[in-house]
C-alpha cells in the first residue's frame, strides 16, 4: 500500500469516526424521552413516572414565584394540565422545557386570580408552616431576576445540580452555570446587607 493510500484511508477513518461521534447523540433517546413517547401511546403509568422525575423541577419553578403553601396544589395542577395537553407537544425530547413553561404560566395565572379574589395575606399561612430563616432566605431569592431565582431555588431548595437543572428545564448548561453564579453573587450581596443568616 502506498503512503498516499495510507494517509487517505486514515483521513477517511478519521472523518467516519468523527461523523459517527457527532451523529450518535442525535439518535440516542433519553429515558425521559422514551417515557414521553409511551405517554403519547396512551401509557398512564409512564406519565406517573414522569411525574416523579419532574415534580421537583415544577415545585422549584413554582416556589420561586408563589407562596409555599400553595405550591403543592399547583404542582398537581401543572401535571394535570400537562396530561390533558400532551397532544400539543411536538417533540418528546422537549418535554422538560414545555412543562417548565406550563409551570411558569400557572404561576402567572395564580397571581392574576389572586388579585381578582383578594385572598388572605401570604404571611398568615407562611408563618404557620415554614421556618422563619427559610422563609426569609426564600424572600430574598424571590427578589432576584426570574432567571436567577428559578435556577437558585432548583439548586439550593430542590438540591439539583447544575447539569440536572439543564437537563430537566431544557436550558443549556452554560446558561444554567451563568445564572447560578450571577444569582449567587447577587444573593450573597443581599445576605450581606440584611444579615439574615
Amino acid at each position: 500500500m502506498s503512503e498516499t493510500e495510507t494517509v487517505g484511508n486514515l483521513l477517511f477513518m478519521t472523518a467516519a469516526s468523527g461523523t459517527a461521534a457527532t451523529a450518535q447523540p442525535a439518535f440516542e433517546k433519553s429515558p425521559e424521552t422514551l417515557l414521553v413517547e409511551k405517554v403519547f401511546g396512551g401509557d398512564r403509568d409512564a406519565f406517573g413516572e414522569l411525574y416523579d422525575l419532574y415534580a421537583p423541577m415544577v415545585h422549584g419553578i413554582l416556589l420561586a414565584r408563589v407562596p409555599f403553601d400553595d405550591v403543592g396544589d399547583l404542582v398537581q395542577d401543572v401535571f394535570l394540565s400537562a396530561f390533558k395537553r400532551i397532544h400539543t407537544l411536538r417533540e418528546a425530547g422537549a418535554f422538560g422545557g414545555w412543562l417548565a413553561m406550563i409551570a411558569r404560566n400557572r404561576a402567572v395565572d395564580f397571581h392574576r386570580r389572586k388579585r381578582e379574589t383578594e385572598e388572605l395575606p401570604e404571611n398568615l399561612a407562611r408563618r404557620a408552616s415554614v421556618r422563619p430563616e427559610a422563609s426569609e432566605a426564600l424572600r430574598l431569592i424571590r427578589t432576584l431576576p426570574d432567571a436567577y431565582k428559578e435556577t437558585l431555588v432548583l439548586r439550593l431548595v430542590e438540591g439539583m445540580t447544575g447539569p440536572e437543572i439543564a437537563e430537566r428545564t431544557g436550558l443549556t448548561p452554560a446558561s444554567v452555570r451563568v445564572n447560578l453564579h450571577r444569582g449567587m453573587k447577587l444573593l450573597r450581596e443581599k445576605l450581606g446587607m440584611e444579615k439574615v443568616l
Binding site: F79, A94, W98, A134
Partner: protein
C-alpha cells in the same frame, strides 16, 4: 474549587452555600402519599403532528390553485364563445349583400370545398336562403374549430403552469419537512 460546589456539588464545600442548602432544604418537594389523580383519557390519539398540518396545508393550496385555474379557464372560454359573429336574421335581398356573401363563401370554402363549388356560386348570382344558411353554417363550424384549438392551446399552457406550481409546492414541502425534522429539542416549548 468553591465554584464547582455551586455547579455540581463537587470540590471544596462552600460554607455559605451549604448553610443555605440546610436552611432552604425544609422547603424541598415532598412526594405526596396519594398518586396524581389523572383524568379518564388523554387525547393522545389525536396528538398534534406538524407533518399532518403541512400535508393539509399543501392539499388546501392545491385545491385553491386548481379552483382558480378552472375558474379562469372557464371564464376565458366563455369570453371566446360570446365574441363570435351574430347569426343571420331574415332574408338577404340586396346585391351588395349577395356579393359580400359570395366573397365570404369563397374565403371560407377555399380549404374545405372543391373548386367546382366556387364556380357554381359564381355563375349563380341569385343565392337563396338555404344556400346562405349552409355557407354560414360551414363558416361557423370552421370558427368553432379554431376556437376549440385556441381553448386546447390555452388548456395545455394552464396545465404546464399547474405542473410547475405543483413542483414548487412539493419542493417547499420538502424544505418544511427537513426543517421540522432538524429542529432542536426543548428550546421552544409550547405552553
Amino acid at each position: 474549587m468553591k465554584e464547582d460546589y455551586l455547579w455540581d456539588k463537587s470540590g471544596e464545600v462552600d460554607a455559605e452555600i451549604e448553610q443555605l442548602e440546610k436552611t432552604l432544604g425544609s422547603l424541598r418537594y415532598k412526594r405526596p402519599a396519594e398518586p396524581l389523580p389523572l383524568p379518564a383519557a388523554s387525547r393522545s390519539l389525536f396528538r398534534f403532528n406538524s407533518n399532518w398540518l403541512a400535508a393539509a396545508a399543501a392539499i388546501a393550496l392545491l385545491l385553491l390553485a386548481g379552483g382558480l385555474w378552472l375558474g379562469l379557464n372557464r371564464a376565458g372560454s366563455d369570453k371566446l364563445l360570446s365574441s363570435g359573429p351574430p347569426p343571420p336574421v331574415g332574408p338577404v335581398n340586396t346585391t351588395a349583400g349577395v356579393s359580400r356573401m359570395i366573397q365570404s363563401v369563397r374565403s371560407s370554402e377555399r380549404n374545405v370545398a372543391p373548386p367546382q363549388q366556387d364556380v357554381v356560386i359564381q355563375i349563380q348570382p341569385a343565392v337563396n336562403r338555404s344556400q346562405f344558411v349552409a355557407v354560414k353554417f360551414r363558416e361557423a363550424k370552421r370558427e368553432r374549430e379554431l376556437r376549440q384549438e385556441e381553448i386546447m392551446r390555452r388548456g395545455e399552457f394552464a396545465k404546464e403552469q399547474l405542473i410547475k406550481a405543483l413542483e414548487i409546492t412539493s419542493e417547499k414541502l420538502n424544505v418544511v419537512q427537513k426543517k421540522i425534522q432538524g429542529a432542536p429539542d426543548g428550546r421552544n416549548p409550547i405552553s
